[in-house]
Symmetry: C2
Subunit: 241 residues, 2 copies
């Protein structure tokens, strides 16, 4: 796990690929087979998925759900919400248009560059990952996998872990169904969410307060292709909505 330090504060229109390249060069550059994990916030900022609180007029519903919080922030959360899974004001667990289930529909104010802005999730995190992968391949000739990650809470457990929202160049689930373990017993229904584990591993060296928005995870032997959508439990199989 190699943190990519020293990246500048990002703004809409900046080339994230160029900044990632510069940061990677300081640690010896990318290598084939690397997994590059980039925090969603960096992606959303360069893609302009930022809302100024001053521009938001809260609805009555937003005022009601905001509890003691800022109703303009709740208004933005509701706009990003396809359906509310649970609510206990000012906490909202949303399903987003992408299908992610997470607190506040992924809307975040920390690290936003200014206190008075909110950062939304990328519109299409898989497309963001693909664009970054292609730009880095074009610039370096190195093919790597890219994960766009974010910190999500979990049911039943405290704290957040980073998970993969968007993916390019990697099968997010390692499916061991039908394989036999070391004593010859067939494994049933063992599907490992490796992309989420990689995102979480990268978080350990990125940190929230250090302004490190990306890390390389090197040395894994993974392959395949896939999408962040592959990690979403289909609603008809989901016991927790």
């Amino acid at each position: 796990m190699i943190p990519l330090r020293g990246m500048p504060e990002l703004r809409e229109g900046d080339s994230l690929a160029v900044e990632l390249l510069r940061a990677a060069e300081r640690v010896g550059g990318f290598e084939g087979g690397d997994v590059l994990v980039v925090a969603q916030k960096a992606v959303s900022k360069v893609e302009g998925e930022v809302v100024r609180l001053a521009d938001v007029e809260p609805s009555d519903r937003a005022r009601e759900l905001a509890g003691g919080g800022d109703p303009r922030r709740m208004e933005v959360i509701l706009r990003e919400t396809k359906s509310i899974v649970r609510t206990r004001p000012p906490l909202v667990i949303s399903e987003t248009a992408h299908g992610f289930v997470c607190a506040s529909a992924g809307v975040d104010s920390s690290n936003a560059g200014r206190p008075e802005t909110l950062v939304l999730l990328p519109r299409d995190p898989d497309a963001s990952a693909s664009r970054l992968r292609e730009a880095l391949r074009d610039a370096t000739g190195v093919d790597m996998a890219v994960i766009v990650s974010d910190s999500f809470g979990r049911a039943w457990r405290q704290g957040t872990t980073d998970v993969a929202l968007g993916i390019s160049g990697l099968a997010p689930i390692l499916d061991l169904n039908g394989q036999r373990d070391s004593v010859g017993y067939e494994l049933h229904a063992t599907q490992i969410a490796v992309a989420d584990e990689i995102a979480g591993a990268a978080e350990l060296v990125m940190g929230k307060v250090d302004g490190i928005p990306a890390a390389i995870v090197r040395g894994l032997t993974l392959s395949g292709e896939g999408s962040g959508v592959d990690l979403l439990m289909p609603p008809d199989r989901d016991l927790f909505r």
Copy 2:
């Protein structure tokens, strides 16, 4: 992340510490500040938390919930279950006596050493982690942190990720409340479940089919003390039971 390869199939009464030491010596030994992640199954096997299916008489309730599965396996799951959180036969999501919420109360048949046995969770995973840490410190003079890990499914997302059940020598949650991020904005309610991210990172090099029951995660700057219980959401704050 350094996998500890070549460990033998473990049985009740084996010294897990001795086997871990031997495996670690093959990769240069332990270092101060290492986090040793050990799969729950290895711990449970040496602690004798194994049930022979032939010894189990299923109850009517177990037959009812088993669906097409083995009612003896369901009987063992029910014995390990404090309360059923959700069920869709043959799937049961349980709260265990420890307070973990997971599929099948953590009862597992794969990697059990023989097809006709089931492996339960350790009775007290924190105590298991502490004993291992002390035994390794006594043998080597090196103080490391120990995590006893298992693969848990998640609400809303496909696949399992490894999480920390038992912990010694590590604060499982990195609490950034009140810290300021790189642009001076105060972070609210940012608690990172680093112990779960470390367990997941270790899983990436352990694998389910390779018979690698442990890995070292080296190079993190973590500290503190804590318990696997710190990672459990208190029921009164939990929106998903």
